[in-house]
Amino acid sequence: MKIIAQSVEETIIYGEKLGTLVNSGDVICLTGDLGTGKTHFVKGFAKGLKIEDSITSPTFTIVNEYQGRLKLNHFDVYRVSDPEEIENIGFDEYIFSSAVSIIEWANFIEELIPKESLRINIIKVPEKGDNYREIEVTYKGERYNYVKEIEI
């Protein structure tokens, strides 16, 4: 399905609504070019999870952990050149845990993503405005059926 966000705020709101619905163990793959608003999306998502810490990009740390309604593992694998590098930090232990995991640039480590996951791809549409975004949402696994309820 496809959601239209007319502004940065709407991208954040979509993230927040998703954050209120996710369950323990969910894995969310977040893709989109540089500057499409992935981190904004995660900020909203964290708010939905009732996380009070401010969210910073884990580009250099690879993963940041937060505690809210559920534990959140926020990955950014942009700098990773080989999936093995991510495996070596104990990736499986993070994603197959009771925490929620959100992975920016998940396409770089496709082979490590579990079959059942929620995929969110944010696309810029410059001709419709600087902050206009199409948010493509797909998933495998009934556990993610809740995304159908989300509207902005």
């Binding site: 495996e87 104990g90 499986d92 232990e93 197959f96 579990p114 079959k115």
Partner: protein, 237 residues
Amino acid sequence: MIVLSIDSATESASCAVLDDDKLLGEIIFNYKKQHSVILMTMVEELLKNVALTINDIDGFVVSKGPGSFTGLRIGIATVKGLSQGTGKPFLGVSSLDALAYNMAFTSGIVCPILDALRGNVYTALYKFEGATLVRKSDYLVISIEELIALLKKQNEPCTFIGDAVHIFKDALTDSIGNVKFAPVHLDLVRASALGELGKASLALGEHDDINTFAPLYLRKCQAEREYEKKMSLLKDE
């Protein structure tokens, strides 16, 4: 010789103190991995309750793996620090050896299985020859199906033990005849078993090197993973 042993290879964390004749004390927690928070306080509490200080310890034993990447690093970093600080030797012992040792004198194959996620287990096959635990295979990380195929070839009674037992019990019971499962209280890697195994070697002067010792991480190689990915894609189509 007084030995302090530490295991944090899996979900559980434990530490134990053994002397030449007995186990003086052991603490085990098996509740949400939180090794980096609890491990040192456990060691402190244990030593206090057996009226020892860290300087009374003659050697350290640590789980070298396989197991949780993060857990292994925490345990090994801790023991390296203790070893360096006290100037006493340390030795790594396999978590699988320690698990198998829990089933002393079992006849047939003893097969420890630790959850390696994605349907895989860390495992090895063991037998007791008299009082001696003998490993009969390499340390492996394989899918449960591969393990079942391997054990069917052995055609011997088999006893399973470890934290993956509760996940695969039904699959193992259904596909292999003559299986037994360890009682639940033995399913953890216990620091006391590690200590017992390591103590003999330490007493002989064997030890590991603080600068070169690394955890035994077992992983499927890249080629295997790519092959499996291809096969699972074919299955999906």
